[in-house]
Subunit: 339 residues, 2 copies
DNA sequence: TTGAAAGCGCTAACAG
DNA sequence: CTGTTAGCGCTTTCAA
């Protein structure tokens, strides 16, 4: 199959120089006499030389690979994030290894170890389900940046997140401004920091304002359409149903809208529904979904930049938190409170 | 930062054996006395040894990395495909490097060279925009599997595709069975084989059956919602507009539906619309979109399996074509021909 | 069954 | 400014 592999040695021979000189040309390091540089470059082209990063990496113990570990790329939230990571990494000379954990903790651990094995320079963990100790442990072997961590995560690790609390707070306030007082909330996965903060944003807004606070207006969902459908049905069939339902993500909200339709309720005339994330689908469903926009692409870009800067800066040690802003996108699924 | 790196040497020292023995334990090769095996394993655990695949790869000139090169992961068609690739690769012991080309031919070339540089074992090119010669050239250095190639691609390279021709043929026939005779078609990108075949399927069906064939019922789109909106508007405002519009993908179809709405036409009462791909969004838009289902996940799985089998089988040389079936999913956007 | 040793392709001293 | 050389961590002969 693959024919003779061209190495730096072949290039040196053809160019009539030593290995060292070729290496220097490749790395741009040292000053090489321009005449020699030319000849080396010519030789490389002639031989179609492709450097062996594997050898380079073995020697330098560095690489230009970074891992991106996320729950599953088929969740419509992640492609934009992944693209942000990839674009920034690419711009900074890095390539990404994509790993779907399916929220399986052991699979995630295996992936991180594989990344260490491959001497990846760093890894971005999105909604990691690894125990805190594991993350600490791995961080000794590979640079880590987290996107959305666990509630109360204390590790000394860079973290990129969004203003989840404010996002939900603003959404509830907006519903209040439309006259709603009975606003329900469906959570997603309270083992993630972002979801806890969304819930806190809801609670704070409801308790602060002139809303009716009822425990049974809060349901525990699972970030899926089916979950939204089921819990939406329950909420809407209560004796005193809410007039507005906030959801922890857009898929849940879509499920709620479907439930409302199934119950012959109109959105937003009979009930208002709001989502979170602002995935592309929001604009395409009917009615178009009011949602709290998360800068998914930006998050990916930011995480990649933070990680690579850490990789390049040997003596950076203190970890930082970066919080990106959310923004309420008002569309057709929310309206004036009925009656 | 990263503390002392544990190598096979450290393990050997602790276990009181030689390097070779440790290596043999790791690879499961040779027969190692079980007593020594135990001690090596114990030492590896104690030291938290993580193998250096970089060194392994340098030595063996093999790796467990495969590249996945696709237009852009943010196109809703690709995440499912990528997941299929990843799952199968993972099952077979491989990891994937994700590369978005943004349909930029040079970027694609750079990525493929990077993959060769990293000694990836193989690469899956999805809708490659590389010239045929380049693909041939690269295939000397790295195993390649194509998903959806160029029209008339002749290279001796494994190819995974779907029955695009039959897909569109069946869709048009179905519209015929609903009484439609004026069926339009909007293409996507005729530089890809799949798109050409879809068009051919349309042409054949129209010319075969009792349809009205008109050149101006065929528009050249670009696989986007905006493109669909624009061309849909044009078609629907013709003096003799079509009563049904087939689209080369779902996004285009969604654009057409939006155009119909903007013109106060009802779908499907006034005009039927069908898409291609059957992305998740189809079920969520209103009306739910009739579409030709492509087995995206299966395509990814298949391509990964074919590639890895080629990697493992040294003397496999003849290339094969694998064609996966499409299936018409009838939903709400198509109906009886008006009047 | 094991140990010793060569070397994969490259970088980074170091001496010239 | 250039050539020589010693490894990076691992696999894989080859002897023992």
């Amino acid at each position: 199959m693959s024919k003779k592999i061209v190495t730096i040695k072949d290039v040196a021979r053809l160019a009539g120089t030593s290995l060292g000189t070729v290496s220097n040309v490749i790395n741009g390091s040292k000053t090489v006499k321009s005449e020699n540089r030319e000849r080396v470059i010519k030789a490389m082209e002639e031989l179609e030389y492709i450097p062996n990063l594997t050898a380079q990496s073995l020697k330098t113990n560095k690489s230009k690979l970074i891992g991106l570990v996320l729950p599953t790329i088929t969740n419509p939230f992640y492609p934009a994030l992944a693209k942000g990571v990839e674009d920034m990494a690419n711009r900074m000379g890095y390539t990404i290894i994509l790993c779907n954990t399916d929220l399986d903790c052991e699979k995630e651990a295996r992936y991180v170890e594989m990344l260490i094995s491959n001497r990846a320079a760093g890894v971005i963990l999105v909604k990691s389900s690894l125990p805190e100790e594991s993350i600490e442990k791995y961080s000794k072997k590979i640079k880590i940046t987290l996107i959305d961590s666990k509630p109360n995560f204390q590790g000394n690790i860079d973290l990129v997140e969004t203003s989840n609390y404010e996002g939900l707070f603003k959404a509830v306030e907006y519903l209040g401004s439309l006259g709603h007082t009975r606003v329900a909330y469906i959570t997603g996965n309270l083992r993630s920091k972002s979801d806890v903060e969304r819930l806190n944003g809801y609670l704070q807004a409801v308790k602060n304002g002139k809303f009716l606070y009822r425990e049974d207006y809060i349901k525990n969902g699972n970030f899926t359409i089916d979950g939204g459908y089921k819990l939406g049905s329950e909420l809407l069939q209560m004796p005193e149903p809410p007039t507005a339902i906030c959801c922890s993500n857009d898929l849940t909200a879509i499920g709620v809208i479907q439930a409302a339709k199934a119950l012959n309720l109109r959105v937003p005339q009979d009930v208002s529904v709001a989502g979170f994330d602002d995935i592309d689908i929001c604009k395409l469903v009917m009615p178009a979904l009011t949602s709290i926009h998360q800068p998914k692409y930006d998050q990916g870009e930011k995480a990649a930049r933070v990680l690579i800067e850490k990789i390049n800066d040997e003596n950076a040690s203190i970890a930082r938190n970066y919080i990106l802003n959310t923004e309420l996108k008002i569309r057709e699924s929310t309206g004036i409170c009925p009656k």
